[in-house]
């Protein structure tokens, strides 16, 4: 466990937590844990900044009784602080929260998050299937992850509200990553907001200097929103001094071009300078096209007509078109799905290429086109 630098918002958070705990109705907290109710702490916690701070040895700020689930989180936190918590205890806590009444679980998580206390788990941020975390670096991040899942499964709005409050101040890239996901889960129309927040992340020089796992995984927002306006910024990240960010941006660009092929191709045709220094990689983005779709075909023809694109790049594009390629991974927001490989795409490719050969549409590419056709024949 490491001590984290106190965030300026910490004192505000601490104050809010104290108020929340002090205001907590003692009679209600004594009710059986099964009785569903939303805590009065929800609003203050949601509006409070959420710095990721570990308070070594700090005790709750008000001597109040709390619901059973909150006490379980509290007990685990104290063990984690002392370095005595085990992985199985973390799993058990998650299980207890997942199987509890969702409203009570959310209430308990928000109450703990409202205290702004945190402790490191010793694990690295890692995603599992469906955007859920496999490992969380801190208890707060784990709780935000669980909060998101419980709220999504029970269709309750608290996770997104809290996530938006986290995204109001720079806590940690990991907290932001999970918060971006929680907002997206709750509100699929939040693309513009998510893009703004991803931009904020990328503009944070401290976060960008040493990109953490949560920071890199957040690039999935660009793929989720399917906005071609991300092509330029991602392409510029390919020149970032940080190799990890370069690589993550390369994956994001490839996945964005797979998720929104027409939009990305159109953008690249309109911005010929983008990725011009990496022509063979640019060819890969166009290779996501589905020539059975007229608009894709037209856009590809525009690309093949371009004088600024080398013959080698065009040849690579044709080869890639016949052999689609994809990254496979567990992502924050999007899923890795095999690109459509039904007979329609193959047939569209064969018919289009045959048509180009017959009409001598791209004479310089004839050998490459014939090669594609030969490979498509059974």
């Amino acid at each position: 466990m490491t001590h984290l630098k106190p965030h300026p918002g910490f004192w505000i958070g601490l104050l809010c937590a104290a108020i929340v705990l002090w205001l907590w109705p003692r009679d209600k907290s004594a009710l059986p844990a099964e009785k569903p109710e939303l805590p009065p702490s929800t609003a203050p916690a949601a509006s409070a900044p959420a710095p990721s701070i570990k308070l070594a040895g700090a005790a709750p700020t008000a001597p109040v009784q709390t619901p059973a689930l909150f006490q379980k989180i509290e007990a685990f936190f104290l063990k984690l602080q002392k370095g005595q918590a085990t992985e199985s205890e973390l799993s058990a806590l998650r299980q207890q929260l997942f199987t509890a009444n969702p409203k009570l679980a959310i209430q308990a998580i928000l109450q703990f998050l409202g205290t702004n206390r945190d402790a490191a788990t010793g694990a690295e941020f890692a995603l599992g299937p469906g955007g859920l975390l496999q490992n969380a670096p801190t208890l707060r991040v784990a709780l935000m992850d669980w909060l998101g899942k419980i709220a999504r499964d029970s269709r309750l709005p608290e996770a997104a509200a809290f996530a938006r409050s986290v995204l109001n101040s720079k806590t940690s890239p990991e907290e932001w990553a999970v918060s971006l996901r929680n907002v997206a889960w709750q509100d699929p129309q939040s693309g513009a907001f998510l893009s703004v927040k991803l931009r904020e992340m990328l503009l944070d020089s401290d976060w960008r200097k040493n990109p953490s796992a949560g920071f890199l995984e957040s690039l999935d927002v660009a793929v989720f929103v399917k906005d071609p306006q991300w092509v330029g910024p991602l392409a510029s990240l390919l020149r970032d001094p940080q190799p990890s960010l370069q690589r993550a941006a390369a994956v994001a660009l490839d996945r964005l071009s797979e998720a929104a092929p027409l939009a990305v191709m159109t953008y690249l045709n309109a911005h010929p300078e983008t990725s011009a220094e990496r022509p063979l990689v640019r060819a890969d983005y166009f290779a996501k096209a589905d020539l059975s779709q007229p608009l894709h075909r037209e856009t590809v023809e525009t690309y093949l007509d371009r004088a600024d694109v080398s013959l080698r790049e065009k040849e690579k594009f044709l080869q890639g078109l016949a052999t689609p390629a994809s990254f496979v991974s567990d992502n924050l927001l999007t899923t890795s799905q095999p690109a459509p490989e039904g007979p329609g795409r193959r047939m569209g490719l064969e018919q289009t290429v045959r048509g180009w050969i017959q009409s001598s549409r791209f004479p310089a590419l004839r050998p490459a086109l014939e090669k594609v056709l030969a490979a498509e024949e059974p």
Binding site: L127, E217, P243, V281, S326, F327, S329, P338
Partner: protein
């Protein structure tokens, strides 16, 4: 530690020390199961033609190293062709890839930690899918039991080395000791060496029932100190194979 791509016609003399070094298995064994499921992978990356290795692990798919299929500077490899059980000029089958997958995301993207970092090798796995069965429906199954690598079970690494051999014959090497986990799914063995061109080849082991299983994929090698690195087949790899390779 470096990747084991073999540029065409590359041949560099070196002293490999006392570790086990890859030797030709000969044409007969090359065409005997499970050796016959291994093949040479030819592909173009940028302006270079390269050779690697792969194994038929599903009827119409082969498992290989991710760096055979993708490179940060040149993007996806093209012209990927699998020549199964190649021996001299002939192969039992020759099939172009119809679909390529690399098991890596934003965080694990190949080369995130630099081309020669163990953490990159830990995420160095890919697969290719063919139009039809590569070996008449036969395949070597995989095993996510990493004790097959770290325990007393004998291991056999195979591939088409082209560094000290011509690249047209199947090579095999067995370590004297068990593999050691380094980070994530990257395992190392200092009792053997690999040759450039073996990248993507299988590390085979017999399970408790005596069946051959692919337990790892050759991804890295070093001549000084002599060592061979593999990407173990773990639960994530098995899931990847089940979901994307057929």
């Amino acid at each position: 530690m470096r990747h084991l791509l073999s540029a065409a016609l590359l041949a560099l003399p070196t002293w490999l020390g006392a570790a086990e070094s890859p030797q030709s298995v000969g044409p007969d064994l090359t065409r005997t199961f499970p050796y016959s499921m291994v093949g040479q992978l030819l592909f173009q990356s940028g302006n270079g033609l390269y050779g690697g290795s792969g194994t038929v692990i599903r009827p119409s798919s082969a498992l290989t190293a991710g760096h055979n299929l993708y490179d940060f500077n040149n993007g996806w490899s093209t012209g990927v062709v699998f020549r199964r059980a190649l021996s001299g000029n002939t192969a039992l089958s020759r099939q172009p890839a119809r679909r390529i997958y690399v098991l890596a995301g934003y965080r694990e993207s190949l080369g995130r930690f630099g081309a020669e970092d163990a953490r990159s090798f830990a995420n160095d796995l890919g697969g290719i899918v063919f139009a039809g069965p590569a070996a008449g429906g036969a395949a070597v199954d995989t095993s996510a039991d990493t004790t097959l690598l770290t325990g007393a079970t004998a291991n056999l690494a195979l591939g088409y080395g082209a560094e000290f051999h011509p690249g047209d014959e199947l090579l095999a090497v067995s370590p004297k000791t068990a593999f050691q986990p380094v980070t994530g799914a990257f395992f190392l063995n200092r009792s053997l060496s690999f040759e450039a061109g073996m990248s993507g080849g299988p590390v085979l082991a017999r399970n408790s029932r005596g069946q051959w299983r692919v337990s790892g994929v050759v991804v890295a090698g070093s001549n000084e100190p002599v060592s061979g690195g593999i990407r173990a087949v773990d639960a994530q790899a098995v899931q990847f194979i089940r979901q994307y390779l057929r």
